[in-house]
C-alpha cells in the first residue's frame, strides 16, 4: 500500500528493507531526517546507528562496517560530503561497498540550506584523490528515493564500490506516496569481508600498493569495473523524445519541472522532449548521441551554474549545439521561466518553429 512519506525517510526505510544494518552520520540540513529516521528504525531492525563526531569519522566508520561485510549507509549535504571525500577515495581504493546519500544544498562554503545541484562535480567526478569513480544515482521522486536506494546497495555490492544517491533539498524534504517492497532482505556477508572468523582470517582490506606495477594493476582492475558499469549500469528516462526536435536534459527535481515544461511546450506546438539521466555516472552518453541524429539542439537545465552540461557536451562531441539555463543559490526555476527560455531558443534554432505565426499564416 502506498504511504505518504518524506524523501529522506524513504531512503532509510528502503535501506533497511534492503539489508542495511549500519548508519553512521553527522547532522546537516537538509539531510538530517535521514539520520533521525535511521536513529529511530535501525536499532529496531537489529542494526547500528551512531551519530559520529564528524563526517570524517562517519565515512571511516562506514569503511569499518563495510570491511566487516555489513551494508552501510551515511547521508549528508555539500559541506559534509566535502569532508567525506578522502574516505570515499579509500573505500573505492579498498573496493568496499557502501551507500552515501547527498541531499544537496546551496554552496560554496556555508552557502545556504535551500536546494541546489552544485555537488555534481564533486560527487560525479570524484572529489577525492586518485583514479576512482563512484556510481551516482539521481532520484526525481520520493518513490525513486526508495527504489534507487535499494538499487544503490545492489550496485555497491556488485561493483564493490561506493554508490552515491544524489538528490537535492526538495527531493529530501517533499512527501509523495511510496510503495515499498513487501518483504525485507538480508544478504549474506560477502566472502571477502573480514568478519572475525577462522574462515576469513586471511582476508585483508587495504588500499596501499607500494610497488608501482602492483598499484597500476590495481587501478586497471578498478578501471575495468568502471568500463563494465558504463556498459551495463546506465539508466535514464526518455520522455516524449521519439519525435523531439529540442531535447531538454535535466536530472532530479529539475527533471520534474522539465516534464511540466514539455507538456506546456507541446501544447504550444513545439516538438520538445526530455532526457533524464538516472545514473549520472555512468552517464547516458550513448543515448544522447542517438538522440542527436534527430534533435536540433540540446537544452540543459540545472540548479547550478553548469556542471552536468559539461558531460552533455562531452557526450555529443560537438554534434549538436548544447545550451544551458541554470539557477542557483537555492532558487528553483519555475516551469514558466524555463518555457520562456525554451521558446526563445526554439525560435533561434528553427524560426519555422514559431507556431503562432504559422497559425496566423
Amino acid at each position: 500500500m502506498k504511504q505518504l512519506i518524506k524523501g529522506n525517510e524513504a531512503i532509510v526505510k528502503s535501506a533497511i528493507l534492503a539489508g542495511c544494518r549500519a548508519f553512521y552520520g553527522y547532522p546537516i540540513t537538509p539531510a538530517s531526517e535521514i539520520a533521525e529516521a535511521a536513529a529511530l528504525y535501525l536499532p529496531r531492525a537489529g542494526g547500528v546507528f551512531l551519530q559520529a563526531e564528524s563526517e570524517v569519522a562517519a565515512i571511516n566508520m562506514l569503511y569499518g562496517a563495510a570491511a566487516a561485510g555489513v551494508r552501510a549507509l551515511t547521508a549528508s549535504s555539500g559541506p559534509g560530503i566535502s569532508l567525506m571525500q578522502e574516505g570515499i577515495s579509500y573505500l573505492a581504493g579498498a573496493e568496499l561497498p557502501c551507500v552515501i546519500a547527498d541531499i544537496m544544498r546551496g554552496g560554496p562554503g556555508l552557502g545556504n540550506i535551500a536546494p541546489e545541484q552544485g555537488d555534481y562535480n564533486q560527487v560525479v567526478k570524484g572529489g577525492g584523490h586518485g583514479n576512482y569513480r563512484t556510481l551516482v544515482l539521481a532520484p526525481d521522486s520520493v518513490q525513486e528515493m526508495a527504489d534507487l536506494t535499494r538499487l544503490a546497495f545492489d550496485l555497491a555490492d556488485e561493483y564493490r564500490n561506493p554508490v552515491v544517491v544524489l538528490a537535492d533539498g526538495y527531493t529530501g524534504q517533499m512527501m509523495e506516496p511510496v510503495e515499498f517492497p513487501a518483504a525485507a532482505m538480508l544478504p549474506r556477508r560477502p566472502a571477502w569481508a573480514v568478519d572475525g572468523t577462522a574462515a576469513t582470517r586471511r582476508n585483508l582490506i587495504t588500499s596501499i600498493y607500494l610497488e608501482p606495477d602492483q598499484l597500476e594493476a590495481h587501478v586497471r582492475k578498478l578501471e575495468t569495473k568502471y568500463r563494465r558499469a558504463e556498459q551495463q549500469a546506465v539508466r535514464f528516462e526518455s520522455h516524449r523524445t521519439e519525435d523531439a526536435e529540442i531535447v531538454l536534459v535535466g536530472y532530479g527535481i529539475v527533471a520534474r519541472i522539465l516534464k511540466a515544461v514539455v507538456e506546456q511546450a507541446r501544447a504550444q506546438g513545439l516538438a520538445v522532449g526530455l532526457l533524464r539521466p538516472i545514473t549520472l555516472y555512468p552517464f547516458p552518453a550513448a543515448e544522447l548521441r542517438r538522440l542527436s541524429r534527430q534533435a536540433l539542439a540540446f537544452l540543459v537545465v540545472e540548479m547550478s551554474t553548469g556542471q552536468m552540461v559539461e558531460d552533455v557536451r562531452l557526450a555529443l562531441e560537438g554534434r549538436r549545439p548544447v545550451e544551458f539555463y541554470g539557477r542557483c543559490g537555492g532558487n528553483v526555476p519555475s516551469a514558466e521561466e524555463i518555457l520562456r527560455w525554451v521558446r526563445e531558443r526554439a525560435d533561434h534554432y528553427w524560426p519555422a518553429f514559431a507556431p503562432e505565426e504559422m497559425a496566423d499564416a
Binding site: 500500500m1 571511516n60 569503511y63 524534504q173 517533499m174 515499498f180 585483508l204
Partner: protein, 476 residues
Amino acid sequence: MPEYTVIHEKARSFYDLYERKAELQHQTHYCPGCGHGIVHKLVAEAIDELGIQDRTILVTPVGCSVFGYYYFDVGNVQAAHGRASAVACAVKRALPESVVLSYQGDGDLAAIGTAEILHAANRGENITVIFVNNAIYAMTGGQMAPTTLLGQSSTTTPSGRNEWNEGYPLHVCELLAALEAPVYLERVALGNNKQIMGAARAVRRAIGNQVKSLGFSLVEILSPCPTIWRKDPVEAQHWVRDEMAKVFPLGVFRDRGTEAGARPAAAPPPALDEVPRLLGIVNGSRLMTDRGGATVDWRIKVAGFGGQGVLMLGEVLAEAGLDAGMEVSWLPSYGPEMRSGTSNCHVRLAAAPIDSPLVSRPNVLLALNQPSLEKFLPTVEPGGWVFYNGQTPPRNGVRADVRVIGRPFTQVGDELGDARAGNMVMLGALLEATGLLPDEAVEGALKRVVKSERWLELDRRALARGRAAVREGSLP
C-alpha cells in the same frame, strides 16, 4: 644442564613467512631496535595467550606500522591516516564477537586522529588501542609529532621544539583520563627488559578487558625509533627510559578492570519478516473513494506564519488526496525562511501523474496571513480560488478574475479553543466551496496526521465550522 630451555619460536599469531612482503620474507620491515617490532611481538603473544587468533581483527594506521598485516595472521583492515579508531569502532559494532585492535602511532592518534580517539574513548567503545608513542613522525622522515619533547629537534623543528611556537608535548593518557568511560589507560615503555615485561602485561590486560566486554582500553607505549632519532638501538632504549619517561610519566591512569561489569549485550535482531512492520510499513490496500475525475489538477499553495499549521494543512490535503485515489505531492519550504517566521507548502492533487511538485501558478491559494496573500495573489491562475484570513482585501489590489473568500479563520479557531485550529477552519471552507475532497478521505487523513485525541476533536469541530461558514455565510 641449565634449568631453562631456549625456545626459538614465533608467536602463532604471526605468519611463518611474511608472504605479503615483496622481499626478505623472513624478517620485518622495521629497523633494528625499532619499538614497533617489540610491540608486535607483545600483541601477538597476548593474542596467543588469550586464544583469540580467529576472532581478532587488527586495524593498522598510516605510519611505520601500516604494514602490520604483513605479520599478523589475523583479520586485517588497513585504515586512513588518523582514522583507525573510527574504523575499529564500526568493525566492533558490526561484529560484537570479534576482538578489535586499533594500532596507532602518535601522529596518527594524537594529531590528525585526535577527534576520533577522543570520541571513541568517550563512547567507551569496546575496543583495544595500542598507541605507540615514539615522539616523532617516523614514516615520513622525522617531522615533529604532537608528542615530540621540548627542545627535541626534528625536520620541522630544526632548532628544537619550542613551546612558544609548537606548544607542549601532548599527554594522551592524562587527557583521556579526564573522561568517564574508559576502563583502562596505562602508559608503559620499552626502555629495558623490565619495562618490556610490564608492557607485555599491560597489552594482555588491555586486550583481555575487551574479551571480557568491559569497554575501552588503551596502552600508550613509549617506544624507540633509533633511525630517526639517529641513535644506536641501545642509546635509543636509554633515551626512552631517561628522557621520554621524564616527560611522559609511566603508570596506570585508569583501571576499572575489576569493578566494571560487562557491557550490556545488544538485543537479538528481530525475525526478517517482522522488519517491514517495525518500519511502520503497512501492507494491504487503501480504501480508495476514487474521486476527482480524469481532469482534476489542483495546484495548491498554503502559506502563513510558522505555528499556524501551514505544513499540517498541506499534509491533511495530501493524505486525503491519496485516500481519494489521486496522485499527490507535498513540498514544504524549509530552513531559514521558517526561522524568520514564514512557512509555506506546495500541494498537488491530480488525476494524472504529477510532473512538477512545485506550484508556481496555483489554482488554490490558502493564505493564513496578510504578507502571504500579498506575495502570492498575483501568481494565482485566473479562475482560481483564494482563501485568506480576515476581511481586509489585499493592499496590492483585488483581482476580479479569481474567487476570493476572506473570513477571520484564525479568530474562529481561537473561539473554538485554539487559534492554531484556524487552519482546519480554512480547510473546511475550502472543502465546502470547491468539493475538492470527499468527507471520508479527509476524516481518514486527519486520523493519520493528528495524533492527539484532544486535537482530533478540536480539528473536527473546526472543519465543520469552516464548512458552515461557506454554506450559510455564517461567519462575520
